[in-house]
């Protein structure tokens, strides 16, 4: 039993997303599909799942070409997809989500809740997933939500499972548990395609690794034959420096002091719970932790975007706890937000307008209420050049830029001052390797010029590469502090709330 993608080509207006891609997976096999952001992996999987029609090429199951016009067709063919961003309705229960689209009914369309629940518990116990059918999705931790997605797929009797970046939201121990489940599925005869940009995981779990670059399949290797560096090189097309080169840190005085900070989230839960930390000038402190443990609310509170419930935040000894975002900006604090399209930029505005988004109210960009667009354009031109932002002009809408360049616009804007404190949240999420390298370099540069830097990232590799000191955040608190040389496993355990190796047994 084989699933094969043969000669898949997909042309979008102006862009060739997939170019004669060939891929095959057999039952009882795990294939890892590697490639950096924008390589064409998701397009390929969308074709497999019936969301796109290929311009050329075929999808073949057991020798029979398939017509896939909708996810329904794919499901009928035994293909199941577990998406990176879960396709679960947050306010529904587990059972409701699992049976959605294929509900067991009594007369008049009345849903048979009992049968729905049974469907869930059967699969859950079979694979040891331990999911409660009546739980509401938005109350479940992310690791469990992923299991619900898996149950959804298995409930439709999928023979081939596609996982799109499945581990991006899991802690290392949860990743181990996930791999156990995947191995179970393989032993059960399922064929699995596993999309990722995480090299180590591919090496660990896959039987074969397929690498995509710029829409083409460029290589197919067996894990035994390669290592991470080789994989990275294949992915990007040139040798890649996986480690950020930086001098040893020489931290000076404490710049940022957070004491017993408590912040509520939108649902009035304590997202940050009596948290304390310090950052010194000339050091990079990285906060590791799975998203959802209060990092977002912490950053929002530090930058004035969210009121705190209690505690104190001090900058160089001055209390800044209740200051507005503008006041905080005026204190030379740079903030690179975690969601660049939502908070960092105004997408319909031009590059120039976005560059002055933080300074439009000050000289020389404006005098009183009158804006000086010449000054604005001058600054924009200078920064675009200095920060290597690839754009046809500064009058183009910033939405036309790629993610990496958008992020560079933000970084350019924020760093173009004498910055005392940098707060960067998920600074390189979803951008190409070239831009990642550039931004990492700039952050280290700021540190070397004496700024205190606080990074929040759910990519542990990034934290380990950049930080001089690592703090782990779990459930709203700092639960551990590490030197970057500590093993990933140990950090991972802390991310899950465990204190030390003793408790791991």
């Amino acid at each position: 039993m084989t699933l094969e993608l043969r000669g898949i080509t997909k042309q979008f207006p102006g862009v060739l997303a997939n170019d004669d891609v060939n891929l095959s997976v057999s039952e009882g096999e795990i294939i890892a599909l590697l490639g950096e952001n924008g390589a064409g992996k998701t397009t390929l999987m969308n074709i497999l799942y019936g969301l796109y029609t290929p311009t050329k090429g075929e999808v073949i199951v057991d020798g029979e070409p398939l017509v896939l016009d909708s996810p329904g067709d794919a499901i009928a063919a035994g293909i199941g997809m577990v998406h990176q961003h879960f396709m679960l309705v947050p306010v529904f229960t587990v059972a409701e989500n699992v049976v959605l689209g294929d509900e067991p009914t009594k007369s008049l369309g009345w849903i048979d809740a009992r049968r729905a629940k049974k469907a869930v518990t059967e699969i859950s116990s079979r694979y040891g997933l331990d999911v409660d059918p009546d739980a509401i999705i938005e109350d479940l931790p992310v690791g469990f939500q992923q299991r619900v997605e898996i149950i959804k797929v298995l409930a439709r009797e999928a023979r081939f499972l596609v996982f799109d970046e499945p581990t991006s939201v899991l802690t290392p121990p949860e990743v181990d548990r996930f791999f156990e489940i995947v191995n179970e599925l393989r032993a059960d005869g399922k064929g699995i395609i596993f999309i990722s940009h995480k090299l180590g995981e591919a090496l660990e779990i896959a039987d074969r690794i397929v690498i995509m670059r710029r829409g083409k399949t460029v290589a197919e290797v067996v894990p035994a034959d390669v290592d991470e560096e080789k994989l990275a090189e294949l992915m990007v097309g040139r040798p890649v420096d996986l480690v950020v080169s930086k001098a040893k840190a020489e931290p000076k005085d404490v710049v940022l002091a957070v004491k017993d900070l408590t912040v509520l989230d939108d649902r009035n839960n304590r997202a940050v719970d009596s948290l304390s930390l310090e950052v010194r000038a000339g050091e990079i402190v990285g906060i590791a932790g799975v998203q959802g443990n209060g990092q977002t609310e912490l950053v929002e509170s530090l930058t004035g975007l969210r009121p705190s419930l209690g505690g104190v935040v001090e900058l160089n000894g001055n209390d800044i706890t209740t200051l507005s975002p503008r006041a905080i900006h005026n204190l030379d604090i740079a903030h690179v937000p975690e969601d660049r399209q939502k908070s960092g930029l105004v997408l319909p505005f031009t590059v120039a307008e976005n560059i002055v988004l933080d300074s439009y109210h000050e000289r020389p960009i404006s005098k009183g209420i009158l804006m000086d667009w010449n000054a604005a354009r001058d600054r924009a031109t200078r920064l675009v050049e200095e920060y290597d932002v690839r754009t046809p002009s500064i009058e183009v809408q910033v939405s036309n830029l790629s993610g990496g360049n958008q992020q560079k616009v933000i970084v350019a804007r924020e760093f173009d001052r004498d910055v005392k404190l940098v707060i960067a949240s998920q600074p390189t999420r979803g951008i190409d390797v070239g831009s990642i390298e550039y931004i990492h370099g700039r952050i280290v540069e700021e540190r070397d010029e004496g700024a205190a830097v606080l990074i929040v990232s759910s990519e542990l590799e990034e934290i380990k590469a950049l930080s001089d000191r690592i703090l782990v955040m779990y459930d709203g608190r700092v639960v551990a502090e590490f030197d970057p040389s500590v093993s990933t496993t140990e950090i991972g355990l802390a991310m899950l709330g465990s204190q030390s190796e003793e408790e791991a047994s």
């Binding site: 975007l305 036309n400 990496g404």
Partner: protein, 420 residues
């Protein structure tokens, strides 16, 4: 399944699935690929010819449909189709011809007609600016009607309470109108800022409240014309009346004020920090907050500016229109027309100016149409609605006429639900 890929930056060759991957976290706040109301009429890559094409075609289509409606509702001629189709056809065509000829003559057929057009356009331009300012900031000000009433009543009060030289009186009248309208609209803005209440519902409710308030005031001793029992106010003093411009023709300095308003709004939106903030918040409130803007205050300010413009429009209806009195619902349909204007003009002040002139022409012509050809003036309302639909959906026009719409045609304001 449509294949929509965002425009690409050639030097970095990003691939289509790059955008969906990044977008997903912020999908809740509206699709960034959608252009929004903020965009100017002289949009990037849009030639003037293209920008005018869709409105022109929309107008044409509306007139055609309007002709059809006239024909179908001609109750006298309808029975004739059964007995003598030839005669009926002649009568129908004559009817349509008469109607549209009256429309044309009444709007631009003579100096008097042009004066009437400008006269009718004045409050429309002001009201349209009010709505446009709101749209640019992402706010739907449906309350122009109520703001006109409050501003107008304030203006009226100043109008009949004082008897000072016009050079002082008129500015005072304007100031009162400005403040009245700003306060009434600011109330809705405040509610949105503090409680998240959606301005569509609050402004509409305030419309009704203002309406009844005006009715009450018109029967109160403060406002009611002495010796009258019906709800009609005392007249404003002659010194507060907007001076006419050319002798007997009705067009007056109100039109000049409207032109000034266009210029001021343009300057405000595109040359000041205030306008920058308004537009930023309209395009992305989260981005605005992050940039340090006080979004709540901006909502209040936008509504205040919008209400001020509407208030002046209301004042115009009192001190520029004989007999310089207020009656019940003196703002009429102008508030709703203003929405159409803002859409037609793409929320850009100059666009609103031209749209206002067009609608002024329809109004002046429509009156002639009603008088000379017996077509109720409400047809103009229908025409306006049809025009808006086609402006708001260029694809409709495109599919009818197989015209290519400009690349970055704006179609929508980004909304994400009820706020709060």
């Amino acid at each position: 399944m449509s294949d929509t890929a965002p425009p690409e930056d050639p030097q970095n060759t990003p691939l289509p699935d790059m955008v969906p991957q990044e977008e997903a976290p912020s999908q809740k706040d509206g699709d960034p690929r959608k252009s929004d109301m903020y965009r100017r009429v002289t949009g990037i890559g849009t030639s003037a010819r293209q920008a005018m094409l869709v409105p022109a075609l929309a107008l044409l289509t509306a007139l055609i449909i309007g002709a059809f409606i006239i024909a179908v509702t001609d109750v006298d001629t309808l029975p004739l189709w059964g007995s003598d189709p030839g005669e009926a056809l002649k009568a129908t065509v004559t009817g349509i011809f008469d109607a549209y000829k009256a429309l044309f003559v009444g709007s631009v057929g003579s100096l008097d007609a042009i004066s009437e057009t400008l006269f009718a356009a004045t409050p429309l331009i002001l009201a349209g600016l009010a709505v446009a300012v709101g749209f640019q900031a992402g706010l739907f000000n449906i309350g122009v009607n109520g703001q006109m009433h409050i501003g107008g009543m304030a203006a009226l009060w100043v109008g009949f309470t004082f008897a000072i030289p016009a050079v002082f009186h008129i500015p005072l009248v304007l100031a009162a109108a400005l403040v009245g309208g700003a306060l009434w609209a600011g109330l809705a803005g405040l509610l949105k800022a503090r409680t998240g209440a959606h301005e569509v519902i609050t402004t509409i409710m305030l419309n009704f409240i203002a309406l009844f308030l005006v009715d009450y005031l018109l029967k109160s001793s403060l406002f009611q014309a002495p010796g009258r029992n019906d709800p009609i106010s005392a007249p404003a003093n002659p010194s507060s009346v907007f001076t006419t411009l050319f002798g007997d023709y009705r067009v007056n300095i109100g039109f000049i004020i409207a032109l000034a308003a266009v210029a001021i709004v343009w300057w405000l939106m595109y040359r000041t920090t205030v306008g920058f903030e308004f537009r930023a918040v309209g395009a992305n409130p989260s981005g605005g907050r992050y940039a340090g803007m006080s979004v709540a205050w901006i909502y209040v300010s936008v509504m205040a500016v919008s209400g001020a413009l509407a208030g002046i429009a209301g004042a115009n209806q009192i001190v520029a229109v004989e007999p310089y009195r207020a009656i019940s619902n003196f703002a009429g349909n102008i508030g709703f027309d203003a929405i159409a204007l803002a859409l037609l003009g793409r929320s850009h002040p100059v666009g609103v100016l031209f749209a206002g002139l067009l609608f002024g022409a329809l109004r002046a012509g429509g009156r002639e149409m009603q008088g000379a050809a017996g077509i109720p003036i409400d047809l103009v309302l229908v025409l306006q609605a049809l025009i808006i639909v086609m402006i708001a959906a260029p694809e409709l026009v495109r599919s009818i006429y197989r015209v290519k719409t400009p690349d970055q045609e704006i179609t929508t304001v980004t909304t994400s639900g009820w706020g709060g």
